[in-house]
Symmetry: C2
Subunit: 463 residues, 2 copies
């Protein structure tokens, strides 16, 4: 085989980079489970009719066929899932009889999209999704719950830059548009689609397009003023009332309900806000996906704004229904690869070692491998990851072997009784190769500091 080359859009990580991704996944999972979310996995494959219901991503689907497909199975119509929401809705319908509702689940899985690889876009990437799904009804406090859980998880990733979670509510937007006389569904959808361009186009350009779509200039201006409301606290209701008039709010139960849900959400997460963690009402957030019916989320990462939203979701009241029963849900999805891959490739973020081993057990000579194995076994029995040197090189070379991998400690086994050990001592010794300190140690009791047990990931600024 000649040297293989990377496939564009299919990122692969080196071991010390994968350790960063693994710590992200471990932290997410721990927080999700502390909040009672059960982990599931869905198959990678869905029937095309399930995948293509969400029309705007049809172009991105990867189709599957067997190399030697038989006539009867040909064109069976299966593809790889492009998100975890559509398969989860299918899972809920398929297994509803065996699930307890409200059903909280998380999913940490790869998804595939056949789109053109470009900045921050991958063809294969890992997502972390949490959703709560009810049967028939799902109270609004679950919108607050999923927000809190995801913010709690992201806050604990202390090597992440700061971030801003932007929240809006579709009831608020649809209610406000109705108050402006915009009620035709096709017009409402088109206005939302144009407002969603505000992060890419100047406001004046969007305004021109709104007028071209049939809005009079004053209404287009109000639509943009509404989208311009961004506030970190629950003054959002007052600002909307200022813009549209208190009568408009009082006269629209949908607008009032949206405002109430949005204000409740901001109050419900206020205690999680800090310098790195911001939550704002941002009335320009519309989300492209038409299944959202209430709360919608996007998230921007400081210094990585070009990535777009790294964590998105919302409330969907009718994504999963079998005709008789409807399963309303609310969820949020964090783009693990979308964040981790740029962090490791652009900023050089990596674990401080490329192996799990905290200790390299040195090898005096090949005949004494059992003695070194015994030291390793004693350390592992107390959950200290370690490895035995691959060959009995000079100890200086074995120390460099550890250095190249970032292993912090080298263990020198006690010389056999009656011999003079290379370490100059009759006891086992362990060297911290960062400080050079070398001390006598007992394999049955020596323990490294907790922070040395696992590879460490630190933000580049702190290193």
């Amino acid at each position: 085989m000649s040297k293989p080359t990377a496939l564009s859009g299919f990122p692969e990580l080196l071991p010390a980079q994968r350790a960063v991704e693994q710590q992200v996944l471990d932290t997410l999972r721990e927080v999700f489970e502390l909040h009672g979310f059960a982990g599931i996995e869905t198959r990678a494959v869905e029937p095309l009719d399930v995948l293509l219901r969400k029309g705007d991503t049809a172009k991105e689907v990867y189709l599957l066929r067997r190399l030697h497909e038989t006539a009867e199975e040909g064109h069976a119509g299966f593809g790889l899932h492009f998100d975890l929401t559509v398969p989860f809705a299918r899972y809920v319908l398929e297994h509803a009889g065996h699930l307890e509702f409200p059903f909280r689940r998380y999913q940490l899985q790869k998804v595939w999209r056949g789109e053109r690889p470009q900045d921050g876009r991958f063809r294969e990437f890992t997502q972390a999704d949490i959703d709560v799904v009810g049967r028939d009804v799902l109270p609004a406090h679950h919108d607050v719950e999923v927000t809190r859980v995801m913010v709690d998880a992201l806050r604990r990733l202390d090597f992440l830059p700061g971030f801003t979670l932007q929240v809006n509510n579709r009831k608020l937007v649809v209610g406000a548009y109705a108050a402006l006389g915009l009620t035709e569904p096709a017009v409402v959808d088109e206005v939302m689609r144009l407002v969603d361009k505000l992060d890419k186009l100047p406001a004046a350009e969007v305004r021109t397009q709104l007028v071209a779509a049939g809005l009079d200039d004053a209404t287009a201006g109000t639509v943009l003023d509404l989208a311009g409301i961004v506030t970190p606290d629950d003054t959002v209701a007052a600002r909307v009332a200022d813009l549209l008039g208190a009568d408009a709010v009082a006269g629209s139960p949908l607008l009032a309900e949206g405002l109430d849900e949005l204000s409740s959400l901001l109050r419900g997460v206020a205690d999680l806000v800090d310098d790195r963690t911001r939550v704002v009402a941002d009335l320009s957030i519309a989300r492209g996906l038409d299944y959202y019916t209430g709360t919608v989320f996007e998230t921007r990462l400081d210094g990585f704004e070009s990535l777009g939203s790294i964590c998105s979701g919302g409330r969907y009241d009718a994504l999963a229904t079998d005709g008789r029963t409807t399963y309303p849900g609310v969820g949020i999805s964090f783009g693990v690869s979308r964040v981790v891959v740029p962090l490791v490739t652009r900023t050089g973020l990596a674990a401080d070692r490329s192996v799990p081993s905290a200790v390299l057990v040195a090898l005096t000579d090949e005949d004494s491998r059992p003695a070194s194995d015994a030291v390793a076994a004693a350390l592992r029995a107390r959950r200290i990851p370690c490895e035995v040197a691959a060959s009995a090189q000079r100890f200086g070379k074995q120390i460099r072997y550890a250095e190249r991998r970032g292993i912090p400690y080298v263990w020198f086994p006690a010389p056999p009784a009656g011999t003079t050990g290379t370490t100059g001592s009759g006891a086992h010794q362990v060297k911290d190769i960062r400080s050079g300190d070398q001390v006598d140690a007992d394999p049955a009791s020596w323990t490294p500091p907790t922070e040395d047990l696992r590879p460490r990931v630190q933000a580049k600024e702190q290193q």
Copy 2:
């Protein structure tokens, strides 16, 4: 959407079943990391020329294409990987300049095979692979190492039935065949292929086929006698010498080397053997894959023999080479889905709860949700998974809500000062709903027994 149905060959687990699989994966990962194996993931997709080099699985490959593929990218020739060994060999070649050798890695990932779904065969399944790869050379003690690591991991899965790891060595087999006058590579391959059928066909039938392949009857008999050697200790060398004659062994360095490696391996893992864990030399094990060059492994699970080998691998001296440098390796692959799916579907193995929550915090009324949330936050701060009741039903209904999910504890928050609580006490109380015991408790200090912190999986016999 009408009710979706399962896809044959793509197993999906319910939450309490997925908890079993998750515990298997967690245990494997912990053991692999204690032994210094670094976790990596490779992309799901490989170029077809990489996938099809291993000819005998060509029929099983799933090809990928984009739904709206453009002319220039059409027939680019990518497929889903069908194992983790081929992608790992490609990863080593691609990233060799950034890796330290010997390189120990584990991979816990899904693979796909488009074969006809049948008993124990899936089209999508999870594998757990460990390999050690060297640059140019890799001493034989690494064969012992990967065996020990995998046996250590499987032993710790105490809900698994007992198992037998069967070990053979291709050098031994090829050397022995040469001593019998069988040296033509095509003949050796054909004899190995026929011997590999011994677990499916009667020996007499295999003998007939050996003779049909050109062996004289005596040689066919000796080939079968050799394959019949099964021994749990290092008497294997003596038994081969008895069969072929000491001169044959002395006259074949390859045979002697194979015998020495096999005996060393059996001695090297002898201390891990117990009632549930057996390791035997079994000279009928040949493995279908032609890249193995020394040690080969298969594993049978007690009571699940129809699954075939659940854990297989071996030594490959030339799987990865770029023409200038060769990377010899030894590895072993455990079929996680192949074992977990039959255990949960046939024996009903499942975790004792369907959610991670150890505690359901009850809700007195919707207005007191913040008080229940505060209890939950205090428990989570001490890493106790919990959830707050979804609605303020009667406490009896909330207890049944916990029971249906298998949550062992229900927490009754203290009534607000000045009121008489439903619990009849002014303090917080926690009830173990299995025993009915209810005691006063402080959210800042109450801790359940360690075994209640996580969902538990027990072998059915023990339940």
